[in-house]
């Protein structure tokens, strides 16, 4: 039957699918859900960032503070890595939309690798700070700093797991162009994690202490 259909019928069908039958707004449920979720996440990270801003100065004069531990060149590099992972994520999305599955896999893997580099940098940073005397329990700055960046790191880690799952799906042939939106939705999450870091990097690391 599909053979006999003219392109007009297909177009008409596509229209009904998009508007009438599929969803009221024409947007897919999954993508809408992700955006709704990201709206909610704003309040989560907003709370953590405000808690950090509020608490970072509440330390004694001899306590370990931001100036004693921060290594701006190092963090700048890892921030840059995360920023660029957003670019590779965009490439992953556009390659699968074009039907370039191999390209999609390459970019997914690159994004995951960049993300993993960032997390590794964070682990290194935490270890370094700890050896310089800043533990989670040392003072308010320590608690607030580790809580905020740890939450963000956990988000990145979950993102990496999701990207790797996509990669495995792709290798097994389960991630065809018809699932481009799945990649796009994971991409939204990934970009969100990136913009959170844009804010954290500026407010936590770069603001004059």
């Amino acid at each position: 039957m599909a053979d006999t259909m003219t392109s007009e019928t297909t177009a008409a069908e596509a229209a009904t699918h998009a508007e009438g039958h599929h969803t009221s707004t024409g947007i897919s449920n999954e993508k809408l859900a992700m955006w709704v979720f990201l709206g909610s996440e704003c309040l989560l990270f907003g709370g953590l960032i405000s808690t950090y801003m509020f608490n970072k100065g509440r330390i004694g004069p001899d306590d370990v503070g931001p100036d004693d531990v921060f290594d701006i060149p190092f963090t700048s590099v890892s921030s840059f890595v995360l920023l660029m992972s957003s670019l590779t994520m965009v490439f992953a999305v556009s390659s699968i939309a074009r039907g370039d599955l191999r390209g999609n896999r390459i970019w997914l893997a690159t994004t995951a690798a960049l993300g993993a580099t960032f997390v590794a940098g964070q682990v290194y940073e935490f270890t370094a700070f700890y050896s310089e005397g800043l533990g989670f329990t040392t003072n308010l700055f320590g608690s607030a700093f580790y809580a905020l960046t740890g939450f963000h790191g956990a988000h990145v880690t979950i993102g990496i797991i999701m990207l790797m799952s996509l990669y495995v799906m792709s290798v097994r042939g389960n991630l065809g162009p018809e699932r481009a939106e799945t990649v796009e939705i994971i991409g939204l999450y990934w970009h969100f994690v990136d913009i959170v870091w844009i804010v954290i990097f500026t407010i936590v690391y770069l603001f004059p202490q």
Partner: protein, 110 residues
């Protein structure tokens, strides 16, 4: 949108195609992001030369917002996508900023 009729790329996607920017645009955005980051880091080391803290904070906030906007608008497609997403996300964002800034104000934080 993209998921609905993957089997008819010639029709439903026709509207999509021109809405999706090219990879070159993304690269340009990434270059801007990189430059902004470089400037941000630069201000950190310039502090030593005695700019006022307030001036630096204002500059940093502006650059941060620019970066934020670039990623959201281009990488997350909000510029090209349904306005519903834009409203939902911006609502969350503004609400978060509002309540937490009021909270910090109540603490006489500023």
């Amino acid at each position: 949108m993209a998921t609905v009729t993957p089997d008819s790329p010639d029709t439903a996607h026709a509207a999509d195609e021109h809405a999706h920017p090219s990879n070159w645009l993304y690269v340009k955005v990434a270059i801007y992001l990189a430059l902004l980051t470089a400037f941000e880091v630069f201000t950190y080391f310039e502090t030593v030369h005695g700019w006022g803290d307030t001036a630096i904070i204002i500059m940093l906030v502006i650059m941060m917002l620019l970066k934020f906007f670039l990623v959201v608008a281009f990488f997350m497609h909000l510029k090209f996508d349904s306005p519903i997403f834009w409203r939902l996300f911006v609502f969350g964002l503004i609400l978060a900023m509002a309540v937490y800034m009021v909270m910090l104000t109540a603490f006489r934080f500023w």
